[in-house]
Point group: C2
Chain length 428, copies 2
């Protein structure tokens, strides 16, 4: 038992605001292994109930960021983006090269997927030859040379790993200031002076309802600013999957198509909103100028060219698009009734894709980069009985029956067309 920390628990329990020195001491002692788990988890539960001020969150976040390796990017129009995670979320693959094509610079650390949402590293590794194993030095070199580069996050914010493991075991994952400090500490360790948060709301998101997502978006922006960074957030819909492709290789293909002007409208809409905010945050353009630049880069082919350049700089062969993985087999899910798709449950689609091998339940699971689901109808689309709603792509049919069950349960058909925009709000 740590007596100093017991007093800190008591103070947070009673609603005290904790100062910078104590937050730093907490993170230091935590990483040094000086705090028993049972005290830390009680502290986290007290935070769940009492919350934290923006100042407290920013202070904790900075201490967590300092607990491990930190990138030093120096001067330049660097900007980073972060998504709270969604199904079919390939926005990084679109927005990062697109913003880079317009003058922003992105040296991005990403993670692998766990649970029902995919990770950017898994998606990129579906590209033959593509490597995310870059040192910090190499990441910055490539970002400076190409305009953007993406590496796997490894040694950053070890305090976050310790806290997250305890939150996961103690039903405190949902504590908003802890969500914020977890996300933001890793971004701050990534070294960029400006961030764009893509905060998703809906069935396939961490924040299932829009109010909670908005609270998270506001808290992220406020804490980032309190930590001396520029930040904006884009609130986006995640009731149905984003785009038509769910699965690593399928999503890379869709991202490339989007940058060539051939992608689904919602992927374009969300990616453009995120890329525009990246340009604004990076100080490259104002809100209107950003949109104009992005439109031009798309039309001129510069946006796709930047993705291609990044892929080749990180190890992909010239003809990588033609060599994306393809699954050996496929199965269709058909509409039974006519009408309009009223629901396309992102969470259920994710479970179907994961059953096919597109995701992992534990860190050790192998991923099949070719596996996944392609949606032929999305919410609001008219359907007739017998129409193909979605296609399941797979190499391993051991869990096909399970995947089909999830996929069939994902879609509902109703009488009237309904839809909501993909971008709900921009919070600056």
């Amino acid at each position: 038992m740590n007596s100093w920390f017991k007093t800190l628990i008591l103070r947070k329990r009673d609603g005290d605001v904790i100062g910078e020195e104590d937050w730093r001491r907490f993170v230091g002692a935590l990483v040094a292994g000086e705090l028993p788990d049972y005290q830390v988890s009680a502290f986290l539960m007290a935070i769940y109930f009492r919350g934290m001020t923006t100042e407290e969150t920013a202070t904790l976040t900075q201490a967590m960021a300092s607990s491990g390796e930190q990138l030093s990017l120096g001067a330049g129009p660097y900007v980073d983006k972060h998504s709270t995670g969604g199904v079919g979320d390939k926005v990084t693959l679109v927005a990062v090269p697109w913003a880079a094509a317009c003058g922003a610079r992105v040296a991005k650390l990403s993670g692998r997927g766990l649970g029902f949402t995919g990770g950017t590293v898994d998606k990129l590794e579906a590209i033959p030859g593509f490597s995310c194993s870059l040192t910090a030095t190499r990441l910055k070199e490539l970002a400076d040379a190409v305009g953007c580069a993406i590496a796997e996050a490894r040694a950053i914010a070890p305090a976050d790993k310790i806290i997250y493991a305890l939150r996961d075991a103690t039903a405190t994952v949902e504590a908003l200031p802890l969500v914020v400090s977890s996300i933001l500490s890793k971004k701050i360790a990534g070294g960029a002076p400006a961030f764009v948060f893509d905060v998703k709301a809906g069935r396939g998101a961490f924040a299932r309802d829009e109010k909670r997502a908005r609270d998270l978006a506001r808290a992220l922006v406020a804490a980032a600013k309190a930590a001396g960074r520029r930040a904006t957030a884009v609130l986006t819909a995640m009731d149905q999957p984003l785009g038509r492709a769910v699965g690593n290789g399928l999503e890379v293909a869709e991202a490339a198509a989007t940058l060539r002007g051939e992608g689904p409208g919602d992927v374009l809409e969300v990616s453009a909103a995120v890329a525009a905010e990246m340009l604004v945050s990076a100080g490259v353009a104002g809100p209107e100028g950003a949109r104009t630049r992005l439109a031009r880069a798309l039309e001129a082919g510069d946006a796709f060219a930047k993705l291609d350049e990044m892929a080749r700089a990180q190890g992909a062969p010239r003809e990588w698009r033609q060599r994306l993985p393809r699954a050996a087999a496929s199965a269709n899910v058909f509409a039974e009734d006519g009408g309009y798709v009223s629901l396309l449950d992102a969470f259920a689609v994710a479970r179907a894709a994961n059953a096919l091998g597109a995701g992992r339940a534990t860190k050790e699971d192998e991923i099949d980069p070719a596996a996944g689901v392609v949606l032929h109808k999305k919410t609001g689309d008219a359907v007739s009985p017998g129409d193909v709603l979605m296609t399941l792509h797979y190499d391993d049919d051991r869990r096909l029956a399970e995947a089909l069950r999830y996929a069939r349960a994902a879609a509902e058909v109703g009488d009237r067309p309904t839809s909501r925009p993909a971008v709900l709000e921009v919070l600056r």
Copy 2:
């Protein structure tokens, strides 16, 4: 990580009422070592914030009581009493033999003192030859033969020990339903069908303010009733020490004097209230009849005779009163100003007594049964400059200076006499 328990934490966090089966499973898994500490402490903090219903408290309490050895007393006018702990609290030594002299039967498990309040076992062991090391069988035999017997609690409610250690480390000691289940589980394991709780309020008590003490008293009575026991509570003042003696041997002498009609008024008042409730709870008398019987037993000498009988049954020699320990040295604290004693801080007096060797800071500390403090003036008493306020009795002078500092700081003299009753309320 235990997944079932994670869900239980989540439910309590969100304010769900947890049912009997889950409470029992919690206690079973806890005692079996199947629940990681870090999950248990988060659960306890969630309880701190969300509370528990009376039903939940009673269910948890019964499961905790069942986690270890339980006494089986069978039919009879058995009744038990419990004090939340105070300074100079020798009520058990008075009320138990007094109630037994009037027909109640008491087979009581008691503890040793830790921190600033003394334990009944420590006090009884100041009597030469007195042993509290009784088996459950021997305790019941003595209680049936004599009317009362007191043994040291050992193997009861192991779940409480685990929970208490975590509460102590995580600032959740104050969670009311956990206080109730800790106290009540040990009483229930003690086997009596009826309880009287002496809940103390003030500077020398766990509950420093009267409202909190009343809440605790109500919660104890409600949970005991929900667990199928009869129960009442007596709310008593603990701003100043109870009686004039603080220290194990000194308190035994004062208890004996009280039962001979020669003790301080407040000890008599509180003990009579507790003993009366014991007779009522045991079904031996109604509230008025109880008072009459107690007065008669005191006058007739039956009350002291019962203490004497119990002492001798548990190993004390015939002339035990003459052989109580006496300290080798003493030191007086004098009044500097004249007026009336306006404050006599029970906590400060306890620290003085402990510095002299009357208490222990850790379980391993040895106690000096002769050490302690005798108060010559109590709150409301008139004093002149130079009057002796209190006398410190000690064998070891290594911490005398410290004890004198505490003792001098304990008393304040003011202009007007103030006092409040020792018994604040009876809650049935």
